[in-house]
Amino acid sequence: MLRDITLGQYYRTESVIHRLDPRVKIVGTFSFIISLFLVKNFIGYAIAGLFLVICIKLSNVPPKFIFRGMKAIFFLLLITMVFNLFLTPGEAIFSFWKFQITKEGIKLAAMMGIRLVFLITGSSLMTLTTTPNNLTDGLENLLNPLKKIRVPVHEISMMMSIALRFIPILMEETDKIMKAQMARGADFESGSLIQRAKSLIPLLVPLFISAFRRANDLAMAMEARCYRGGEGRTKMKPLIYKKRDAIGYLVIVLFVALVIVFGRILFR
């Protein structure tokens, strides 16, 4: 059941998108998300959707895999759409009791729904095609200017990469502990809410102990290799822009321009 979580997972395959510099992908994803919020009509969303479909196609990640992560946000999506549908004031087209559905409500609900789906799809496409290490490397590199105002960029990215690295490990561990306790008759799935919360203790205690032990071991291993922060640290594989990355940036700029022109200026 834990295997269903695809958010933040990497999908190993060979594609143009996978080979792109992580910085391009991070900038691209952020531009994509920002452009989603600038769009004011459906033409803009159509362009964004087309762009997304092309990117998914290019990435060689099976669409089924991308949309599996959508299950997790299904309820959020549902609630957002229902609230927008019923609570937007305007020209009523359908009403019963205290509720009414307005024309504006339908439009807003549809827009919010599309926006949310695109947002999740876009960002999961980034994590699916970039290894956690690459991702944090890219982020560190992009945030480097902030070092001037004393933001601990290296530390933040190190923490991020360790956290990302440990998600699958801890997930696997959770699975094992769950099975070990289930073999002793533990029941994680039935009972009242309080009972269920209580039944998590036999799972959480071993999990926390193991997490602390791992953290301890990792700190020791880092120290043994003389880790002392980012100062003067060099990389084995430094990020270098290639020709395809320049093309990538160009595509992003074109996309944002297109979305703004069509989604905001031409058709209001």
């Binding site: 295997r3 999908y11 395959t13 099976p62 895999f65 561990e173 094992k176 502990i177 099975k179 070990a180 306790q181 289930m182 073999a183 002793r184 008759g185 533990a186 029941d187 203790i201 036999p202 205690v205 071993p206 102990i209 193991s210």
Partner: protein, 283 residues
């Protein structure tokens, strides 16, 4: 009164790009009271197989029967199954969680819904059975040594009074003394309580002295299923799948090649000693 595994298949990550078979057409019959060694290389499917036996994993196809009932049928009481087929996982750290050892052992029987008195009685009995020192009963399980932790973990499953006890690599990470202690303990449990025991290991050396039947897994299939001496006679095949026969077997084979009249089928040190003495006596 036995476990029957019928054409069992299991595929990991089914319907994703990473799908790969973990078990392929496994057929086994495990009668009551046997002491079985389940041997295989890492990734041979042995852990996956034992998890099928108490319903922790659902097979992709095929059936598992316990007492002539299909355990994956709708409405089958999994809790009862798990009290009958006890599974002790490799790392005791994965199951110990209570503030003291005694309470931790109580966890299993308590989940069976037994009255408090019975729960404590069983926990006490189980801790005695594994030879756990009474002075440590109320100590935190996290302060114990590896061998003692393992004892508490085994007691935690024994307290549910299983009829089949499956142990996944119970000797992993122990020193030679601790290893022998645990193996002797398991062997004693088998003799005294007459329960079925399945001992999972990747080392022939571990199981050769104790078990009456060896099942060798390789790449998700059952490669051998026979008495130890039969299995060890296939030294070549065992080596091909990355396993080895016990050192005794090699020793006896070399003696034979050197011209001594010894039985190469012996599996334990004791038997080997007798054979060698016999051969020399004849000389």
């Amino acid at each position: 009164m036995s476990i029957i595994i019928n054409h069992l298949n299991y595929i990991y990550d089914e319907d994703t790009a990473m799908a790969h078979p973990a078990l392929i057409d496994v057929n086994l019959k495990i009668p009551d009271g046997q002491f079985i060694g389940l041997i295989g290389h890492t990734g041979s499917g042995k852990s996956t197989l034992i998890q099928h036996m108490n319903g922790l994993i659902k097979p992709s196809s095929g059936n598992v029967f316990f007492d002539n009932e299909d355990i994956n049928e709708q409405g089958y009481d999994k809790k009862k199954l798990r009290s009958n087929v006890g599974l002790v996982f490799q790392y005791p750290e994965h199951q110990l969680f209570e503030t003291d050892c005694f309470k931790d052992v109580c966890f299993g029987p308590k989940n069976l819904g037994l009255p408090q008195k019975e729960v404590e009685l069983r926990a006490f009995e189980a801790l005695e059975q594994v030879g756990f020192d009474a002075t440590y009963f109320y100590q935190s399980p996290f302060d114990l040594s590896g061998g003692q932790k393992r004892r508490v973990a085994i007691a935690g499953v024994l307290a549910m009074k299983p009829r089949v006890l499956i142990l996944d690599e119970p000797t992993a990470g122990l020193d030679p003394k601790g290893r022998e202690d645990i193996l002797n303990l398991i062997s004693d449990l088998h003799k005294k309580m007459n329960i079925t025991i399945i001992l999972v290991s990747h080392s022939m050396e571990d199981v050769a002295d104790y078990v009456e039947r060896i099942i060798v897994m390789n790449k998700g299939r059952v490669a051998f299923d026979a008495e130890p001496r039969d299995v060890f006679s296939h030294v070549k095949e065992l080596e091909e799948i990355g396993l080895a026969a016990p050192q005794v077997t090699y020793c006896m084979q070399e003696l034979r090649e050197a011209g001594f009249d010894v039985d190469t089928g012996v599996t334990t040190l004791e038997e080997a000693k007798k054979e060698i003495l016999k051969a020399f006596g004849k000389c």
